[in-house]
Symmetry: C2
Subunit: 401 residues, 2 copies
């Protein structure tokens, strides 16, 4: 029986093996500290819950227009005005089933078989797989601390070719938490647009930035109305299981996006859309700010603790809820390290391998989606674990690109 | 700027034009009777609403495993046992964001660029477009009353070729409401599997059958464990806006489906999954049976009324909530007829053009997702409308296939 070629190219996540192993340990009565998962530990904000309850109670949970509830599209347009001072017509905003739906819609619109998409390595592993869904070719560009683990024009110029459809960038990024410098972002947009390509800017961690206030990471929309901007209610807004995201489309793609969305989604979940409307109230934004400050405290605590133990953090994570740490002082193979760490200490983390192929054996991703007290316990266990191990034969960090 | 080739091939729905026109009329104060929409008019069943409220109140709406909540997969397995006497391991059941997600997952697993999928014409218009999403080629097979508007082995044999990946079939079907004979279904499964292809059986209207009881339409699972069976909580279970469906995968596709679902969906909406668990209670099934009987009453009323006016119904609709009626006695162009009908009488229906290209100008699809009183008013207006029009020059119905 035939199966599509693309399926061979879609890689599984190593972290799923970790999760399965962690669950097996939990069934044996072991207490596992979960630092492998990219999901906020906070519940859905109360006002959002209440909006959902009020709506669902009436039972009228019907389809919405494919592009989403007009009120929600307007509310998102107002969000851009409020936080970025940018005017985005609501007609350009498409509500999707999660940011996953947004990536599907965007790449489905742009990518032909064999078309290439440049991606930073390390990066969110689904990007490559979404590219494979449409039979495109991910072009993984090694990045390191010299560019804060971001793409820039120099790196992109080295790989750009006639088969390039465009690039996917993320800021704050997963797994590093790095935020792209505004001028680097502008440079990338200018370069790609000059070469008739598209930029998909994944901004799902916007708002979760740990400077004085949130929303200082630049949006691609500030520099260009030709970018496709992906966002989500999952991370900053704390609504993972509600499966709701959006894409800001350039004008020229609206009509095609309408047709594609009608067919592949019908519409995003209606109750989630109505609930999400409550996200933008002052009271809810205060709650989200409180959470942001907690994340910041955790990040500081975790970074300090990891460095004290001997991990190297090569670019300070400025956003999202991850620390990408170099463990090469302790192991030449971070995937093995992860399995040993889990088996011996009950700490689950994600190995570098899940985020790319370049030097991935050096790295681990720690999520700080758990309270400081648990992070403290985790750090203690990790410290005892590495002290029991012989130090690794040092790995030399060659020039990456 | 480049846009993917597939986008040119994805057709818009004519019914969207009708909807926009209908809304414009409503803004002018006209009362529109909506017979164009494929969405039950009933609210979400009360027990499902209550289950959702209880779950959402706690605010813990987190991701589920990609294949879905284990309890829901088990409940669906029990549903197959109960209604069909078939044992399906829960591991083969994938919970998806609507049946749309199920079609995306299934065709993404199977279809390579240039691969062909045979489809009945008329049929659900998204099938062709889903095939185009993966750069496949829909092979539209004209069907008519001689096969109750279904594919059968003779029709399929005529078009089968080396590029065929498989077929998508639906029973009860949209737009005709036709149910496939069990032996025809078995024949198709045998033929396609013998030729190393896949059968995707869309069973989203299962349960909405208007014999003595529901669930007499045969499921493809009865004859083969190699079929991919798509289903949904939208139609029989009355949960459209909740965006929840499922696919029963053959054993050999489970591993690939896991990888693809992890990437393209993360997971289906969690609150919808928990709510859907309440669908299978006795009390809810009684409510759904009450609704089924109302649909049956409406169907009988509408069919009788349309035939009295002079529409021909070439295959009695046995399920779903549509009547596909031949309007060639009144018009040589059903799309024009639809626009005139809406403008003059405020009745919105879907033209044949939305369901295929073969003789589509003869047909209209009427939905009976509204109470008998409104159907009666609609029929009166339609009767007055056709009486004002000159009869059309008769169209000869040539041999279709």
């Amino acid at each position: 029986m035939r199966i599509a070629e693309r399926i061979r190219e879609i890689s599984p996540f190593f972290v799923m093996k970790i999760l399965a192993e962690a669950k097996a340990l939990e069934r044996q009565g072991r207490r596992v500290i979960h630092m492998e998962i990219g999901e906020p530990d906070f519940p859905t904000p109360q006002l959002v819950v209440e909006a959902a309850l009020a709506f669902i109670r009436a039972g009228e949970v019907k389809y919405t227009p494919s592009a989403g509830l007009p009120e929600l599209r307007e509310a998102i347009a107002a969000h851009y005005e409020r936080h970025y001072g940018i005017q985005v017509p609501a007609e350009r905003i498409f509500i999707t089933p999660g940011a996953s739906g947004g990536l599907l819609l965007s790449l489905g619109l742009l990518l032909d078989k064999g078309g290439q998409i440049a991606l930073a390595d390390p990066g969110y592993p689904c990007y490559s797989n979404f590219v494979r869904v449409f039979d495109g070719i991910p072009c993984l560009v090694p990045v390191n601390e010299t560019t804060a683990f971001n793409l820039d024009v120099d790196l992109l110029r080295n790989v750009w070719n006639d088969r390039m459809t465009g690039i996917v960038i993320a800021s704050p990024a997963n797994p590093t938490g790095a935020i792209m410098d505004p001028q680097v972002l502008k440079g990338l947009l200018d370069y790609v647009h000059k070469h008739a390509g598209y930029v998909i800017s994944d901004e799902v961690y916007h708002g979760l930035e740990y400077g004085e206030c949130g929303f200082h990471a630049p949006t691609a929309l500030k520099f260009s109305s030709r970018a496709l901007v992906i966002n989500s209610f999952s991370k900053y807004f704390g609504m993972t299981g509600w499966r709701l995201g959006w894409v800001v489309m350039p004008e020229e793609l609206i009509e095609g996006a309408e047709r594609l969305a009608q067919n592949i989604f019908i519409s995003a979940p209606t109750h989630s859309q109505v609930a999400a409307l409550a996200s933008f109230s002052e009271e809810n934004l205060c709650e989200l700010e409180r959470r942001r400050l907690l994340f910041r405290e955790r990040r500081d605590f975790l970074c300090q603790g990891l460095e004290k133990i001997g991990f190297s953090i090569r670019a300070k994570p400025e956003g999202a809820f991850y620390v990408f740490a170099d463990c090469s002082r302790f192991s030449r193979n971070s995937s093995e390290f992860v399995m040993d760490l889990l088996a011996e200490t009950g700490i689950a983390v994600a190995p570098g391998l899940d985020f790319g192929i370049h030097h991935s054996e050096r790295y681990l991703r720690f999520s700080y989606t758990l309270p400081v007290a648990e992070l403290a316990e985790g750090l203690e266990r990790i410290e005892a674990f590495v002290q029991r191990r012989a130090p690794a034969v040092p790995l030399k960090l060659e020039k990456l690109c």
